[in-house]
């Protein structure tokens, strides 16, 4: 097939321009981070040793990675991030599943309204939604006032600047990411299967456990990964709602960079975080592919 020249140019532009953009502004930066993570910090501009030195040749050092394993701060940060992200994901699932199920079961006219209500907070500022919880949880905030009024506590309890506040913040801001994929799988669930189960005398509870739950697994995995992955690297929530000991790795990296100004070490922290994220990302991709094949 002979293609005219403008056509060939057009084909090249369609794929080439975004490709080039991503190579320069997405892949290349990673390569640079990887390379700086093997450099030594230096006082100067830029604040790390050059890759190639006329006198010493190629300079690479694994000191940053060795330091990551030696200093407790980083271990604690990574582990605590994984724990907080995992628990928050579970909480999102516990709150989000019945909500998604309820929306999927609502009358058609209500469904879109309820979905809009789930998405709407997402369009307002993330930062301000986290800030809203600073007001809710403060000493004289709504939560403490309610607890006092109910007589559950005698004096205001410290919730703001604790891990509990971080859990609340993550569940609050990421709940829509859990509900939407769950809703998508629950909504297109084949009603005939449930009818058949009912006709055959299966009780609703049994039908839920045997049919609805197993068939919604792709949605559960997709939603969980959409919450877990960004929560793992979260910076804003632990820094605004957490205490000084709420060490999450996103915050540690930020401080390493902006407070300690140790670029090579911050790069090493980032590289390890990417490695930790590879597994959940692969799981997520596999399941969304599986989901697509099932529904095709």
């Amino acid at each position: 097939m002979t293609t005219a020249r403008p056509e060939r140019l057009w084909r090249r532009t369609v794929a080439g321009v975004p490709y080039l953009w991503l190579l320069v502004f997405f892949l290349a930066p990673f390569a640079i981070v990887l390379r700086i993570s093997f450099a030594d910090p230096l006082i100067g501009q830029p604040p790390f040793t050059p890759f190639y030195d006329e006198a010493q040749g190629i300079q690479l050092t694994a000191d940053n990675y060795r330091f990551l394993t030696e200093d407790d701060l980083y271990w604690v940060s990574y582990l605590k991030s994984v724990r907080i992200a995992a628990v928050a994901t579970l909480l999102c699932l516990l709150i989000g599943y019945p909500m998604a199920y309820g929306i999927a079961r609502a009358r058609a006219v209500w469904r879109n309204v309820l979905l809009l209500l789930v998405i709407l907070p997402f369009w307002t500022s993330f930062l301000l939604r986290v800030y809203a919880w600073m007001g809710m949880l403060s000493g004289q905030g709504v939560v403490n006032k309610t607890l006092l009024a109910l007589g559950l506590v005698d004096q205001p309890v410290q919730i703001l600047y604790t891990d509990l506040a971080v859990y609340l913040g993550i569940v609050y801001t990421y709940l829509p990411f859990m509900i939407l994929p769950l809703y998508a799988t629950l909504e297109r669930l084949d009603g005939d299967l449930l009818d058949a189960a009912a006709d055959l005398g299966g009780r609703p509870r049994q039908a839920f456990l045997d049919i609805t739950l197993p068939l919604s697994v792709p949605g559960v995995v997709a939603g969980s990964m959409l919450v877990f992955i960004p929560a793992l690297g979260e910076f804003v929530i632990p820094s605004l709602l957490g205490g000084l000991d709420t060490l999450m790795i996103g915050r540690t990296l930020y401080d390493e960079f902006f407070v300690n100004r140790d670029w090579p070490l911050a790069s090493a922290v980032a590289t390890v975080l990417v490695l930790i994220l590879v597994l959940p990302i692969v799981v997520f991709q596999r399941f969304s592919q599986l989901d697509r094949e099932v529904t095709r």
Partner: protein, 275 residues
């Protein structure tokens, strides 16, 4: 709905609890923006003084204008690039490096912001050392960073439309001798225009909302609105931020209402409906 897996009362109370959880904090935040007291959580009376203070705060106004400018430019370019990328993935068949391409396109969706921000800053610093561009950092570098991560979102939205829409029209045009470029401009683009608009709105919101990436790649002269808000609230609650939040929620509410109205109208006239 007759089928009942679980008692409707249980689901209904779950929904009520869930929506209360989602909306009470926002409503409380807005309510306290009308509070006269400087101590945010002690109610002393109705007042609009914080809205006045907001209006006179030049730092916030300047930051908001800068954020809007960056969001407009980056959303527009991100939608253009994202649409091209979606076309390449869905309409170009196999081409060399396709796997790497789709991987790079999806990765920003799940990459933690601290990493995207850090790596882009490293790139800008390295480029400045190598070729003298970009000279320092500011609005331009923030715009480039925002294009890079929001084009992935725009591409996802447009791609969803491209994979689900009926290809009969395209095929008919091809059969009648229309070339791919013509098909793209005359047939595909009008059909995906609503998806491009959603992608643009998503990119615009993401850019307006971003704190972490902008903090990494901004210069001393360019503070975006989230950066100013963050520096104010890091030390505790301040009532003028509540007023700002109320203004933003109002704008979003009006925007959603207009978008809903537009979409309802488009659906009525038949434009933007799937073939």
């Amino acid at each position: 709905m007759k089928r009942q897996g679980r008692s409707p009362t249980f689901l209904f109370s779950c929904l009520c609890f869930g929506f209360a959880f989602l909306y009470i904090p926002i409503l409380v935040m807005i309510a306290y923006s009308f509070n006269d007291s400087r101590l945010v959580s002690v109610w002393t009376g109705f007042s609009l003084r914080w809205y006045g203070a907001l209006w006179e705060n030049e730092q916030i106004i300047d930051a908001a204008l800068l954020s809007l400018r960056i969001a407009f430019v980056s959303a527009t370019l991100a939608t253009a690039l994202g649409t091209l990328a979606a076309l390449a993935i869905t309409r170009m068949g196999r081409f060399r490096g396709r796997t790497l391409f789709s991987g790079m396109l999806a990765a920003p969706l799940v990459m933690p912001e601290v990493i995207t921000g850090l790596s882009l800053l490293m790139l800008f610093v390295s480029l400045e050392g190598l070729i003298g561009w970009p000279l320092g950092r500011g609005a331009d570098t923030i715009t480039i960073a925002h294009i890079t991560f929001s084009m992935a979102y725009a591409a996802v939205v447009v791609q969803a439309r491209l994979t689900t829409m009926d290809r009969a029209l395209e095929e008919a045009a091809m059969d009648l001798g229309c070339r791919p470029m013509g098909v793209t401009f005359d047939i595909i683009l009008p059909l995906i225009a609503p998806a491009m608009l959603s992608g643009w709105l998503l990119a615009f919101t993401l850019s307006l909302d971003d704190l972490v990436i902008a903090s990494f790649v901004s210069g001393p002269e360019s503070s975006t609105l989230p950066m100013v808000i963050y520096s104010k609230v890091r030390l505790g609650i301040t009532p003028d931020v509540n007023a700002l939040a109320a203004v933003i929620v109002a704008i979003v509410g009006i925007g959603v209402a207009i978008a809903g109205w537009l979409m309802a109208r488009m659906a009525r006239t038949g434009a933007g409906r799937s073939a």
